[in-house]
């Protein structure tokens, strides 16, 4: 119940994977979940990175996850959007800075927002910074 906001600032596969699992299960139990991808966390959603599975990993575990061929965070977030109450936002600042467009990222984001909009959305939420 309630509202959970996750700031994805890390691009490490292990961290994003953990966030995606917690976010997806919470979203199916009546919790409103907001994910804000920024910094390296946003870059993990770039089309070329996803296609080549070129994520940063913290170590052995992340490499093993890629090799196992198991569904990773993109699929987990997509499923959550389908069955739960989860919305994903991309950070506009990073996109401006690096001259990237929303089309450079996989089709998963509900909108591109800035920090003020994000803070407005999460006023009454519990926030996890990853």
């Amino acid at each position: 119940m309630g509202k959970l906001a996750i700031v994805l600032a890390s691009g490490e596969l292990e961290k994003i994977q953990a966030a995606s699992i917690i976010a997806s299960v919470a979203s199916t139990l009546g919790t409103e979940v907001i994910v804000f991808a920024t910094m390296d966390g946003l870059m993990a959603f770039k089309k070329d990175v996803v296609e080549n599975k070129a994520w940063k990993t913290a170590g052995e575990l992340g490499k093993g996850m890629i090799e196992s061929g198991a569904p990773l965070f993109i699929d987990t977030f997509r499923q959550a959007k389908e069955v739960g109450n989860l919305k994903m936002y991309a950070c506009g600042m990073i996109m401006d800075m690096l001259k990237l467009k929303i089309d450079d990222f996989v089709d998963i984001f509900d909108d591109v927002v800035g920090v003020s909009a994000f803070l407005g959305m999460v006023e009454d939420a519990q926030v996890l910074f990853i």
Binding site: T28, L29, A70, T76, Q79, V83
Partner: protein, 79 residues
């Protein structure tokens, strides 16, 4: 209990947490109240975690049965 007839069986063997749970949730959304849904998981953590979800979501857990190398988690949609 173990031979309860499910209205729908989902084979999620080979999928990892939260795959089997997410597939069960999808099926619960699609089915009518009163239907019995059974999910198969080869993932032991899902066998423990799915009942927790069912309790929180307010559906009825009919049982968790160990089969040959996998678990059958049987759930009744109650709302």
């Amino acid at each position: 209990m173990e031979d309860v007839k499910a209205d729908r069986v989902i084979d999620a063997r080979g999928s990892y947490c939260p795959g089997p749970l997410m597939e069960l949730i999808k099926a619960i959304k699609e089915e009518d109240v009163g239907k019995v849904i059974e999910v198969w998981s080869s993932d032991e953590s899902s066998a423990k975690d799915i009942p927790e979800w069912v309790k929180k979501a307010g559906h009825e857990l009919i049982g968790v049965f160990e089969a040959d190398g996998y678990w059958r988690i049987v759930v009744k949609k109650t709302k």
